[in-house]
Symmetry: C2
Subunit: 376 residues, 2 copies
Amino acid sequence: MGFFKIIKKDSRTLARTGILKTERGTVKTPVFMPVGTKATVKAATVEQLYDLGCRIILGNLYHLYLQPGIEVIEKAGGLHKFMNWDRSILTDSGGFQVFSLSRIRKVLEEGVEFRSIIDGSSHLFTPENVVVMQYRLGSDIAMVLDECIPFTDDYKYTKEAAERTLRWAGLSIKARKKIRSGRMRLFGIVQGGFIKDIRKFSALAVSEMDFDGIAIGGLSVGEDRAQTMEILEYTIDFIDKARPAYFMGLGDPIGIIDSVSLGVDMFDCVMPTRISRTGSAFTSSGKINIKNKKYTMDFNPLDGECDCYTCKNYSRSYIKHLYKTKEILSAILLTVHNLYFIVKLLEKAGDAIEKNNFFDFRKEFKSKYNDKNEKS
Amino acid sequence: MGFFKIIKKDSRTLARTGILKTERGTVKTPVFMPVGTKATVKAATVEQLYDLGCRIILGNLYHLYLQPGIEVIEKAGGLHKFMNWDRSILTDSGGFQVFSLSRIRKVLEEGVEFRSIIDGSSHLFTPENVVVMQYRLGSDIAMVLDECIPFTDDYKYTKEAAERTLRWAGLSIKARKKIRSGRMRLFGIVQGGFIKDIRKFSALAVSEMDFDGIAIGGLSVGEDRAQTMEILEYTIDFIDKARPAYFMGLGDPIGIIDSVSLGVDMFDCVMPTRISRTGSAFTSSGKINIKNKKYTMDFNPLDGECDCYTCKNYSRSYIKHLYKTKEILSAILLTVHNLYFIVKLLEKAGDAIEKNNFFDFRKEFKSKYNDKNEKS
């Protein structure tokens, strides 16, 4: 097979299952990819990730470029060896981080100039050098450099950014050919903000290019959920269906299940790991926060329906105690649980699609899951 | 067998091997017991502790009493179940913490009154109630309440404190009988500061009481190493040799090996876990600090002679990167390594004693290990 193969299409929605094949193995889609920004998925060991069935994680060029530097990782034998992860890694180009983290930056036609958040030094990311650097990291799936804009209704700004992103996309493809990065896959990114005709134009143009997958960027940037889904639904319609569709930066369970319905295959988000460090846990009835007084004497697992390591061995009472006493183990146990929850949610969605009952699965999940069940 | 059995005595030193038998299993001595103050060994999972061969850990009554409270742990089914640890637990009475952590405290004949470090509330620990509370926690080995004094040469103060500790020891034994805490073992604590005749008096008196083991307290409180060893050597001579001897609060490798030579069977200290959170690692040639610039491109393991999970899978370069970027995984990997180092050091010492070459083992270890090899 090639890189991506669709296995089964749902009959009542646009959901589908598929298989991604990288040099490091196969990944069933739909899939949630835990974020390992700085060469570690925060608070988890690789064995804990393997145990919960994770087959692909993210790395981030922006952070790794600044610290420890590409040269260190290259000399270590690549990112996989450096961090002791032998399954697939998708690396983000750092476009999003340049725009969200570096307060001082300048968009040029040839790329984006920015100051390091660590020491203030000046750097230039270009469509070409981010491809080369991801290749040097040993990435299985690289992302193009894109111009990420904040939530806005400014037509001219949105259009210029989307057009520049497309010109950069073309340069990225040339850069890949030039270095003969044979095994590394490269995904394009559709931009266009919240303006439909720019989204359409961007989706069609990216679909015409020689990318292995197509990402939808620029969503989940502060808009409300209805807008996200409206733009997603509109945009995905113009994307080549034969390639994997990747929604960048979406982590909430309801949003993910709705996106699967629209044909999205891949997801990533820092949210499941981030909330683990602030005491929150997904459960089948919605998110809870373990700080809540009512958990002091609650000897039930975080989620009674969950089979994760944490839920099989620890109580809410214990995790609350760990969190209150600022013990590192609270972040570890919550991370294992929250990643299990979200990775398995996508696996279950895939199973439902294959049994052709995804429509009912989605309905049942959404009727039970409600983040407003608990104010934290 | 009873609780403690001596297996082998070294011919050239006072070192010996033995077996402790608790309700939860057997523990070979000499042994290092990782400290799990607040119902977790900081930054480690129980599986990581099992994997490195740890068979006994410490809990601390003082901290657990304040948070989450004895009642919570009792209702959870005891400390073992609460924290999912099924091997042995020794609990400290909290005497040391009352004196070192609570700035406001008052020693009374009936016990010690102190203010909580959490909310300032007032509490009383008595010789009787600390035994009862350790029993309620489900401790395998409980410690008596002792009066811990700072490093001082004040004879009168030292003597009064040691005498009160002895009176409390008598009350502890009565308390244990009263609650019929059959399976729980109870250790007495020898005090007496740095004044030999008080140490002697205390050691002889504790040895006459019905304790399952005898701890040496009040050392490693700021004195230099020569003084520690001088008082230890002097004191241990007056302790009943048939029972396990426990040096409270010693964690440095050289000190431990020298103490084993004097007949100490059990050790605990927060040091190996604490230094793991500040970037330090034991190695066979001495402690190193991973922050050091020279490790940026060092792709060797922390210790080339170490077989721990961390050394088998990760480089100094990677751990340095994790530490610099404040990733939780740095504490996890260093904790696994440092605990492995110290737990195995005691295992190796035991093996050497059984092969009757402990004298050479000690010599070789001390000739290689030097904490001054690296300034950090």
